[in-house]
């Protein structure tokens, strides 16, 4: 999942000039650094919903859950874990 997210962000959301050979690090700040703007965040959420086949409620789209690839993965793992 992390690779698919990283590829989607790099190919669909980033400015070409912001792409690097090393891609996006797991702990790289996607929000504060300006890698993603507000429309980019919306697109990313939509992409994840399609990929994972689950709804992400608006109140879950927070800085804590979406700041880094690590954070997104942890959030999805919590959502998918049995209650």
């Amino acid at each position: 999942m992390r690779e698919r997210l990283a590829r989607y962000i790099a190919e669909a959301l980033l400015d070409p000039s912001a792409r690097t050979e090393n891609g996006i690090a797991a702990d790289e700040d996607l929000l504060g650094s300006g890698l993603l703007d507000s429309l980019g965040v919306m697109s990313l959420v939509f992409f994840i919903e399609q990929e994972v086949g689950m709804d992400i409620p608006a109140e879950d789209v927070t800085i804590e859950n979406f700041q880094t690839l690590d954070a997104i993965e942890a959030y999805l793992a919590r959502r998918q874990a049995p209650e």
């Binding site: 070409p16 000039s17 929000l31 300006g34 507000s38 109140e59 789209v61």
Partner: protein
């Protein structure tokens, strides 16, 4: 009564020293701390050679350090010039050279960006607020040095007519232009807004906009004028609506001022029904039209708040406003920009320069105590922007806004669009000509056309089409990268297509209407990329 912006901070520090002046990310400065730190910064800058009338760049993201920088620079007698942190170093360098900026105030977190900027061959002699060495010949001093600098009262002998700040906006020739404001024009605006909305020291005003964006002046200057608190919204929160809603609740904001698109995202994706935003009493918006359906949704989600549409190009600060009625009608008419603030004169003129008949569209000219001093170093632009007109038995200077408006039968003004080719996207002013100039700077580009078209959520997006000197020598990605090095991020087109041939009108001009139609119905595009 204060006649200079920093005096408002010092007055609040004398009256309510322990009241918070500014907050960001859980940290705060009281008025006493802000007054003291900006005083030490002023003394440090003076020791570095800053004098009355100099321009000093702010190379820092919005936050506590940037707030100290604004007031410290003005206390030293200079004007602050915020650099856009998201724009490429080459463009920031353009601003430094244009404005003759020899001193910067920065912060350690931006050391790498600072080093890149200094490599652009800029006239900078000293940087205050950075740790570590800088390139040869540039003096550096840290915030610790500022804190230990002896407090010395700097009296540069300013009057209210002195330059207070310069904000750079898009220019049609590809060069950004600096809009100069005095202490008088800034304070006149702060007073008009504070009175209109009844701000008091108990208010907590958001700062959503970056400092180089003129919305930020209300957030800071109104707050200091009445001794209220400015709460800086960190950049990450501006991109994540649910976190913005959480911050508005946690910080008990009473005044929120931003662009309509941010508010649309807040109501659609902010989960605000799960938040207690009761303290919010004013929502101010401006910069572009707010679609009624989203405004209506926001108003019903925030029944305790009042809403105001504020209007005014950077050149004149805010000049008109419209406080919305509690029940917004179902029509699709644009929200009016309302009536002028007290003390503002307006006239709507036609192509012949004469006032139009009531209800007819025309360009809005304003005479206001909030108007700019002019454009930095651009008397040619001043000559076009200022116009002396008869007024009763006298005459006075008006500013041509370049905006087309119409007066409704009920007297309220309605904004119709730009007279020239400037568009506002997400609140940012973009000169389409500047985008085209930047595209044409690429050696492979033969012709270029940038155009704006409406998109979902009532905002606009910008697209561009180019033809090439030889087929296939460059693709859209490389052109985007080329633009990203020259323009701020918001001025890079959302979509870029390479065409075999540019559509032309009968007179041989680029047919922009056809480009817009093609972009709205992409099947018709004959792209070869």
């Amino acid at each position: 009564m204060p006649s200079l912006l920093p005096q408002t901070v010092d007055r609040a520090a004398a009256r309510t020293p322990l009241h918070e002046a500014v907050r960001c990310d859980g940290r705060a400065l009281t008025y006493s701390e802000l007054a003291e730190r900006s005083g030490r910064l002023a003394a440090t800058l003076a020791a570095q050679g800053v004098r009355r009338g100099d321009r000093v760049g702010i190379h820092a993201g919005k936050g506590l350090a940037a707030t100290v920088a604004m007031y410290g620079i003005m206390k030293a007698g200079a004007a602050y010039v915020p650099l856009d942190p998201s724009s490429p170093p080459a463009r920031q360098a353009l601003v430094l050279r244009d404005c003759g900026i020899r001193h910067l105030v920065s912060e350690p977190a931006r050391h790498r960006a600072l080093t890149e900027l200094l490599q652009e061959g800029v006239p900078v002699e000293s940087v205050v607020g950075t740790d570590g060495e800088l390139s040869d010949g540039v003096r550096a001093c840290s915030w610790n040095d500022v804190a230990s600098h002896p407090v010395a009262v700097v009296d540069p002998g300013l009057t209210e007519a002195d330059l207070a700040y310069v904000l750079y906006t898009s220019g049609s020739t590809g060069t950004p232009k600096g809009v100069m404001h005095s202490h008088r024009s800034a304070l006149a605006f702060a007073r008009a807004a504070a009175e209109t909305y009844g701000f008091t020291r108990d208010d907590r005003l958001s700062n959503h906009a970056p400092l180089h964006f003129d919305l930020s002046t209300l957030d800071y200057f109104c707050a200091a004028l009445v001794g209220a608190t400015t709460v800086v919204i960190p950049d990450a929160h501006t991109r994540v609506p649910a976190s913005l809603a959480a911050l508005i609740e946690a910080e008990r904001l009473t005044v929120l001022y931003t662009v309509p698109l941010a508010l649309t995202h807040l109501v659609l994706h902010g989960a605000i029904d799960k938040r207690d935003l009761g303290p919010l009493r004013w929502v101010l918006f401006g910069g572009e039209p707010f679609p009624r359906k989203y405004l209506r949704a926001l108003m019903s989600a925030l029944p305790g708040a009042r809403f105001s549409n504020v209007y005014g190009p950077t050149e004149v600060n805010g000049v008109t406003y419209y406080v919305l009625p509690h029940d917004l009608s179902e029509s699709d008419e644009p929200i009016p920009i309302g009536l002028p603030y007290p003390g503002v004169d307006i006239v709507i003129v036609g192509e012949d320069g004469e006032p139009v008949a009531d209800g007819e569209p025309g360009e809005l000219l304003v005479r206001t105590p909030t108007m700019m001093l002019g454009y930095w170093g651009r008397h040619d632009l001043d000559a076009r922007a200022f116009e002396t007109r008869r007024l009763g038995h006298d005459s006075d200077v008006f500013v041509r806004t370049g905006d087309l408006v119409r007066r409704r039968a009920d007297g309220l003004l309605v904004f119709l669009g730009r007279k020239d080719r400037q568009v506002k996207i997400r609140g940012y002013r973009i000169e389409l000509d500047e985008v085209e100039t930047a595209l044409l700077a690429h050696e492979a580009v033969e012709t270029a056309a940038a155009f704006a078209l409406p998109c979902a959520e009532g905002s606009w997006r910008m697209e561009a089409a180019v033809t090439l000197r030889a087929p296939g020598v460059v693709g859209p990605d490389e052109l985007r990268a080329h633009l990203t090095r020259r323009l701020p991020r918001y001025a890079v087109p959302d979509r870029l297509v390479v065409l075999h041939q540019m559509p032309r009108t009968a007179t041989g001009k680029i047919d922009r209407q056809q480009l817009i139609q093609q972009a709205e119905h992409p099947a018709g595009i004959q792209a070869d990329a």
